[in-house]
Symmetry: C2
Subunit: 383 residues, 2 copies
Amino acid sequence: MGKARSSSPTISEVAAAAGVGRATAARTLGGYGYVSTEARLRVLAAAEGLGYRANQLARSVSTGISHTLGVVVADISNPFFGGVVRGVSEVASARGFDALVISTYEHLEDEIAAVNVLVDKRVDGIILSSAACDAASTAHLQLARDQGIPLVLLDRLIPGVELDAVVIDNRAAARAATEQLVAAGHTRIGFVWGPPMVERPRFRRDLVDAAARNLWSDGERLMGYLDALDDSGLPLDPELVSVGEKTESHAYDEVTRMLALDTPPTAFFCTETDALTGTLHALRDGGVPIPSRASVIGFDDSSWAAVMEPPLTMVEQPMLELGRRAAELLLRRIDGEDADPEGSGSNESSGSNESSGSSRHGEYTQLELPARLVERASVAAPH
Amino acid sequence: MGKARSSSPTISEVAAAAGVGRATAARTLGGYGYVSTEARLRVLAAAEGLGYRANQLARSVSTGISHTLGVVVADISNPFFGGVVRGVSEVASARGFDALVISTYEHLEDEIAAVNVLVDKRVDGIILSSAACDAASTAHLQLARDQGIPLVLLDRLIPGVELDAVVIDNRAAARAATEQLVAAGHTRIGFVWGPPMVERPRFRRDLVDAAARNLWSDGERLMGYLDALDDSGLPLDPELVSVGEKTESHAYDEVTRMLALDTPPTAFFCTETDALTGTLHALRDGGVPIPSRASVIGFDDSSWAAVMEPPLTMVEQPMLELGRRAAELLLRRIDGEDADPEGSGSNESSGSNESSGSSRHGEYTQLELPARLVERASVAAPH
């Protein structure tokens, strides 16, 4: 049964080579209990000589810490998550933790499998950008918490779920970007991408309902767009909100559709990198120059955006900082500290609600970091 | 000792709840040996009812398979590696494997820690883009192989190290890109980025030596550039090769330096995304329009490249395919099959050399996938 594997020496073999008892070797290699310095050095030398590798599970059982964090992200090929993971790794590495990353590509079933794998691998805590849109889809998170593994949500809250979280203020960021376009004189502003609805919405309430059922971050960005229209007294035209699949090619199709309207939009606010590149392709193919015939604001600043012709105005998310703060919050939980506010300067709200299911999480902390509008040259007055 | 953790029920508790013996419960939950269907169903129902979670290590000891792959990449925030990981995940997921990704940010010490963690977590195999430039820095790889864990190198070979590998033909790709610029009439072609030398090279042999000591992929790209110059009878001017730090800002500085030469380059070949964006920033700030005053070819196609003004000619690496082929090769090794060539259509060379250290790897396979030059509008005749 099973495959032949060359196995590492046993604790007994190490003990024999070191000339100590098995219990002494086990205590030394497991990092628990009293061992004399001399015996400890003999065991470690023997272990090294024999190529003994501590069994990670044995170590976590004895010390409670395996020095690994799990990071579950939606799509690692999205530079936003690449930056976030870099921030997590920086903080984890400084504390001697390794970050194991799993990408779910926005599939809830892959997220469930990922959390189960990380629980099985005995990570000390998990940072998660969840694909779940509601509390009903979070049994896997409860499972991790039941095993005593702390969780920090990143980038996305899950309505109805009380957990530590680090996010940006998506609604305020989207509102500020839309207001920038309104201030330049635009009254017809395309929004890419909106909710994954099958039927085109007819009324404002259709969009508000869809936003509430959408991924939290996407829904919040749509609400920020609606806020800005409301504040400016501008009417909402549901034709100017893209709906359907969240892909570059669908963004292209939706923008092409909008450009063919009797009164097409004179500006576009694009809330994701793929939404933006899809929009840029559509404008190029439609012969619509930026900014003379269409203004554009994107989300998630990239070094590409600054070398575009014209350089693009972008909402810049603090990706590294999101990752760093999430890792700090998680490590505080792993250390057994209250994840209590310490961060001055960030927009931070700390809930005092009991989290359901585990008394270990008596309070939860939600950090909301600000995003920044980086103004360049892709916004002008409508022609 | 250690922290209080809520623990999952033991196998004995599951056995008691199911009304079977402990050995039967262990065989069922470990997935080995004979268990009657009735007993198996009773054990699984009891395990589910009690919230029992199979101990991953126990499972790997009993079946030899933990259904996880480790993926160690240089920098997950580089979209190239994002695409590669997506390819790995696709193939792994279809076979019921999860991919645990660790990013080393090109630090060899982090790579060593990453491999150790993956060995400790008992992954079934490891895919690795190594920061090691020579065999002397690969003790950590030997360690993994000594534990019977198969390894596949990805994107980068390590000179002197015999392992399965999936790479692109970097030298041919760089040669083709440079030849494209020569064919357009350019005789002074900047190369960004060259080797991380401190002193500026004076002779061809300095560059060839440096290429051999560089990361394999970067060295090969430099050699492809030199090949194309040689073939065309063009002299090499070492002033036109960037040296030093591999960062966007250093690429900017090096291109700015080249633009100030008495006879500046009229074309640039940029071998990394950050090298390209650094070059584009420098050209913009230097008031040098593309392609009328400078032609540009980049590496690693991105959806941004196609919407630039002008759209950029790029060497497109088959990122997804690199990841997929590496995962397929690794899974064949895990299955215990010879990782023998099966891929028709790709440029594939199979070595028959004995790999040092482990007879389990009697033969190794190196797949070399072609890269493709995607021609757009950033190359023109010199002014």
